[in-house]
């Protein structure tokens, strides 16, 4: 798979919030089937970077290509790309006024124009995969955080995306629920789903990541395979971060 083309290509990316330079000269390639973990201290621009990849944030300089298409101001083009790029958020962002099943079928029905029955059976299939099919008719507010996040993952999967983006999917969860979400993510990783995960779960990074990217103050400090990254960090900043995060 290493011979395959990049599905996400970020070239010389710069982004500012007003005067504030959030992303500085980011270059990054994600190949098909690759599992990338992005980590770094709070405020280093991880969320901003990952949100640029499906253009929830606009960048000012540089270029991002997803599946060979450049992300520009063209709305129709963006919508087309977003269909193929699923995203899972820290706060789940399930639609509270819809049942779990409706959350899962909304986009397949309206974006993919899938017949309702087919969309529902696909939804049930993925709910089964995240082990939560008995909750299909409940509302998100009736579920625990871990259950909600698994529903959110299933919702993204229902669009059969090429790529999944995760933005700290376990940071809003109680310790008891983190594992149930990580288990689902590990399964996806084992199936060679292309994944870009912002996470501080270093156990997850160690076992499934192909590459770990460390960011600080809007820059990529270093990127390496998990073995190298943990045993042989190249920068003092990385060392400091690792010593802080691995303490507990």
């Amino acid at each position: 798979m290493d011979t395959q083309k990049a599905v996400i290509e970020v070239k010389g990316l710069n982004k500012w919030y007003g005067e504030f330079h959030v992303l500085k000269n980011i270059d990054l390639e994600v190949r098909r089937g690759e599992r990338i973990v992005i980590c770094g201290p709070s405020g280093s621009g991880k969320s901003t970077l990952i949100r640029c990849m499906n253009r929830l944030e606009r960048h000012q300089e540089g270029a991002i290509f997803v599946d060979g298409t450049e992300l520009t101001g063209n709305l129709k083009g963006i919508e087309k790309i977003r269909r193929e790029v699923g995203m899972v958020f820290q706060n789940f962002n399930l639609f509270p006024h819809m049942t779990v099943l409706e959350n899962l079928t909304l986009a397949p029905i309206w974006v993919r124009k899938m017949p309702r029955r087919e969309a529902e059976s696909t939804a049930m299939h993925y709910l089964d995969r995240v082990r939560i099919s008995e909750q299909a008719l409940k509302y998100p507010g009736q579920l625990s955080g871990g259950q909600q996040q698994r529903v959110a993952i299933a919702r993204a999967l229902c669009m059969s995306p090429d790529i999944l983006l995760f933005d700290e999917p376990t940071s809003a969860l109680d310790p008891e629920m983190i594992k149930e979400v990580l288990d689902v993510m590990v399964e996806l990783a084992e199936e060679r789903m292309t994944m870009v995960c912002v996470t501080h779960e270093m156990g997850f990074a160690r076992t499934v990541a192909d590459r770990i990217i460390f960011m600080d103050s809007g820059q990529i400090v270093e990127q390496n395979s998990p073995e190298e990254f943990f045993s042989n960090p190249q920068y003092d900043r990385t060392k400091l971060f690792l010593s802080q995060i691995l303490q507990h």
Binding site: R82, M87, N93, L106, W110, V111, P140, Q142, A152, M159
Partner: protein, 365 residues
């Protein structure tokens, strides 16, 4: 050596202590919780003791329920037979008596659709079709044409007119107000400033002024062949007025939607109109449902202002009826009757709003 691991068994739940429930507890908690509350309770009881008996004797004990105007002379009670004699005109105005089955039929249809809506058992799609159809049918029944003898708009009046103005007003000003609120948020400055301008203009003027403009001034500006009738102009005035307020109510709801909801919807590939229609609006409207119902109730009550431009609605007809030479001096009964009917309808709307709030998703967090 370690001790063997023990199984944790939670204690069974027990009922609350008896002191926390029961009538005496309720009284103490709600009416006599401290000396000030006790004082207020006693003062209110005294006031009620003074006010209620005369009211009961006027409204019930000494009241005249049936018979002609002569039976009411010299009684100290209410003359409810006045309401009976004037019921027709208060309900349907001066509509021709031989055709009164038509407004009656329209009223039955209206009640049917309202009942179907309130019951909550009908599919949304059916209701969305039923309401516009109801208006077409009611307009045809009341106004005539297409096989029915036409009845001029000047003969429409009474409760029928109030309900018609309010129902059409609510059904059109809610969607129009939502569009205005969305327009106000639009990124296109042309559209958003147009909406802001309209909303602020309307909100800066009292409804009476708008009704006057619609009724008196508009005909001066419009060319003769474009003249539309007075009732329609007034209806348009009410819709414009109400939609500006509804737009502001809805805007509050739109602003309360967390950004994550929109992000998640966009990330699924939904287009911006789908994001608005499926994710933002349903949540925003649910948020503002209490104020929205409040606006609808206000609109219904505001229809009583049309008397200013010469339309005789429910209240207007009650006033007109009390000026009848035969029944002179019974406007109090007329107004009390109006108040009761207005209250019943508004209270019904309020209760329906509450039931809508309770329906739907439950939130634990």
């Amino acid at each position: 050596m370690s001790t063997p691991i023990k199984a944790f068994i939670p204690d069974p739940p027990s009922p609350p202590p008896a002191a926390a429930i029961g009538v005496v507890h309720w009284l103490r908690e709600n009416l006599f919780s401290n000396w000030f509350n006790s004082l207020l309770t006693i003062a209110s009881l005294l006031l009620l003791a003074k006010a209620v008996p005369p009211l009961v004797s006027w409204a019930l004990v000494n009241a005249v329920l049936t018979g002609g105007p002569e039976l009411c002379d010299g009684t100290s009670g209410a003359c409810w037979s006045f309401i009976g004699a004037k019921a027709r005109v208060m309900l349907i105005g001066t509509y021709p008596a031989e055709l009164e089955w038509r407004p009656l039929a329209a009223g039955v249809l209206f009640a049917g659709v309202v009942a179907a809506t309130v019951s909550g058992r009908c599919k949304k799609r059916v209701l969305t079709a039923a309401w516009p159809l109801l208006f077409v049918a009611a307009l045809w029944l009341i106004g005539g044409g297409a096989g029915l003898e036409p009845v001029d708009q000047s003969m429409w009046g009474g409760l029928m007119l109030s309900l018609g103005l309010a129902a059409v007003g609510i059904l059109l000003s809610v969607p129009f107000g939502i569009l205005l609120a969305l327009g106000r948020q639009s990124k296109m400055t042309g559209i958003s400033s147009l909406c802001v301008g309209f909303i602020e203009l309307i909100r800066g003027v009292p409804l009476i002024t708008i009704l006057f403009m619609a009724s008196v001034m508009m005909p001066l500006f419009l060319p003769i062949n474009l003249q539309i009738n007075n009732l329609l102009r007034v209806q348009v005035g009410i819709i414009l007025f109400s939609s500006a307020y509804i737009a502001e109510v809805v805007r509050g709801g739109l602003q309360a939607i967390p950004r994550g909801q929109i992000d998640a919807a966009k990330a699924l590939g939904l287009s911006s109109w789908m994001v608005t229609l499926f994710v933002v609006l349903p949540q925003a409207l649910r948020h503002v449902l209490p104020s929205l119902i409040g606006r609808c109730i206000a609109l219904f009550k505001d229809t009583s202002l049309v008397i200013i431009v010469g339309l005789l609605d429910f209240l207007g007809m009650a006033k007109a009826a009390s000026q009848d030479q035969v029944w002179l001096g019974h406007e109090v009964e007329g107004y009390v009757f109006c108040a009761v009917v207005y209250w019943v309808i508004c209270f019904g709307m309020s209760r329906y709003g509450r039931s809508l709030e309770k329906r739907g998703p439950k939130h634990n967090n």
